[in-house]
Symmetry: C2
Subunit: 278 residues, 2 copies
């Protein structure tokens, strides 16, 4: 199959490695010639160009750009594609992308490979990044079955665990397990910074070990990532944060009123429930 990848960063480059290894011909696109050259040298693509007409012969295009420019990119691709080309994206929010992108291209089907690492760019790309990780496809009622029929086996061939759900359910689910943790964790760091006794703040920094380290990890990550979540999944992030605040309120009430039995039950429930998420 001839596969196009527009945007040759961590995700785009990693898709390229896998698809080439599977015997496909991979055509890459990037804004800068230097990125195209690097992708060719490192073997992530067969050919690459800064010109969109490289995608004129492909059966599928993976748009691997930042969330904000997915729909405009699909619009820009339109004049270059054959009418039966399937277009997908890799953005970590879906409702904010898929309806707008589908207006630009009827054979659009949103996707979200839930794989990543701290490093970014084509240099960080690697084979088998998606193996044994969730890869979510988010059809709407308007999505053509052909798009699913072509894309699903392709994603499956990456050895990813494929899930299919609506963009809305995707965004609600990732709000809980990906976006809310970033907010919860960042607020922990923020709260610690508000200790105004400088000796205590210093002691806290000196005493912090694995518990603080793990709980604060995602909140101390790339600021752009947290901003993107809040901005493009705003409704669901607000919904989960509001539910979370109610839990904090409840906890404060239990501790202030010394309801130790209820607190013990809650903590035991958390202990039990976590396994289902691992």
């Amino acid at each position: 199959m001839r596969i196009g990848i527009l945007g040759l960063g961590l995700i785009g480059g990693s898709l390229g490695y896998d698809f080439r290894r599977l015997g496909h011909t991979v055509l890459g696109g990037a804004r800068r010639q230097v990125t195209c050259d690097r992708a060719i040298v490192c073997g992530a693509v067969d050919q690459a160009s800064t010109d969109l007409d490289i995608f004129g012969t492909v059966e599928v295009v993976f748009v691997c750009t930042p969330i904000a420019v997915v729909a405009p990119t699909v619009a820009a691709l339109r004049p270059y594609l054959q009418s039966n080309t399937v277009v997908t994206d890799v953005g970590s929010v879906k409702s904010a992308i898929v309806y707008e992108a589908a207006e630009q291209w009827p054979l659009f089907l949103g996707g979200h490979p839930m794989a990543g690492k701290t490093e970014v760019g084509i240099e960080a790309a690697q084979p088998a990044l998606f193996a044994h990780r969730a890869y979510v496809l988010t059809p709407t009622e308007q999505t053509s079955p052909e798009a699913m029929a072509i894309l699903k086996p392709l994603v499956n061939s990456l050895e990813a665990e494929v899930f299919v759900c609506s963009p809305e359910n995707h965004d609600r689910a990732v709000a809980w397990i990906s976006h809310l943790p970033v907010m919860v964790s960042g607020s922990l760091i923020q709260a610690c910074l508000h200790e105004d006794d400088i000796r205590v703040r210093k002691l806290a920094q000196q005493f912090a070990s694995s518990g603080f380290c793990d709980t604060s990890r995602v909140g101390g990550g790339h600021p752009e990532l947290g901003l993107m979540m809040a901005r493009y999944n705003r409704t669901e992030v607000m919904r989960s944060l509001t539910a979370y605040r109610a839990e904090i309120d409840h906890l404060i009430q239990l501790i202030s009123q010394e309801h130790w039995d209820t607190l013990a039950d809650t903590l035991a429930e958390n202990h039990q429930a976590r396994d289902a998420f691992l």
Copy 2:
């Protein structure tokens, strides 16, 4: 030196290994004979007994019991000790222990080795558990300088990083970096359980990966641990939780009012600030 260890679990047993290796004579005490026998067999103590008179000849006693029984244990020890014996404990909160314990024994000095692992009991004890970890000593204005003069070098010999501060500053600092993370992290699990659309909850469980795993780890830990923190460090846990709730309120406000620049600044501050805690 002749050193007593009362309570032969993870911490008591690990102290025993280190002190014996350093050439001291270690006398252990436990409520059950089977624990005494195990501690002798595995080499954590030279001798052990269920009878407190084993501590009649020691220069220092480490009380390694649960927090709730430290002060009563010091009271029980009183008839058996020489008048110049220094007594310390290993509890993870200090104000709730040290004043009461010091009333029972003038040469009491509170301590908190900030080392641990998930496993408990004498079987989990190991040499060098305290090496390169914080070990906090918490004198009050009434604490005798002799107690510090004897205990500090002993703790130092464990290769621990020794900190000296008041019980109040200790409890405030650990509230931020140890107790608050447990509450924050547990409330994340609790909030996710309140998603009432069962399909979404299932998807969330399936999509959860390292970010959720790390952020929820300490909140999904032993329920007794969280309960103990809330109960015995209640004032400071309430203070940190209240400050934390204000941060969550602020975040909700920023997102609902779409103050993206301020949110970006906050997230960037978190990213920067975390390093000081690692």
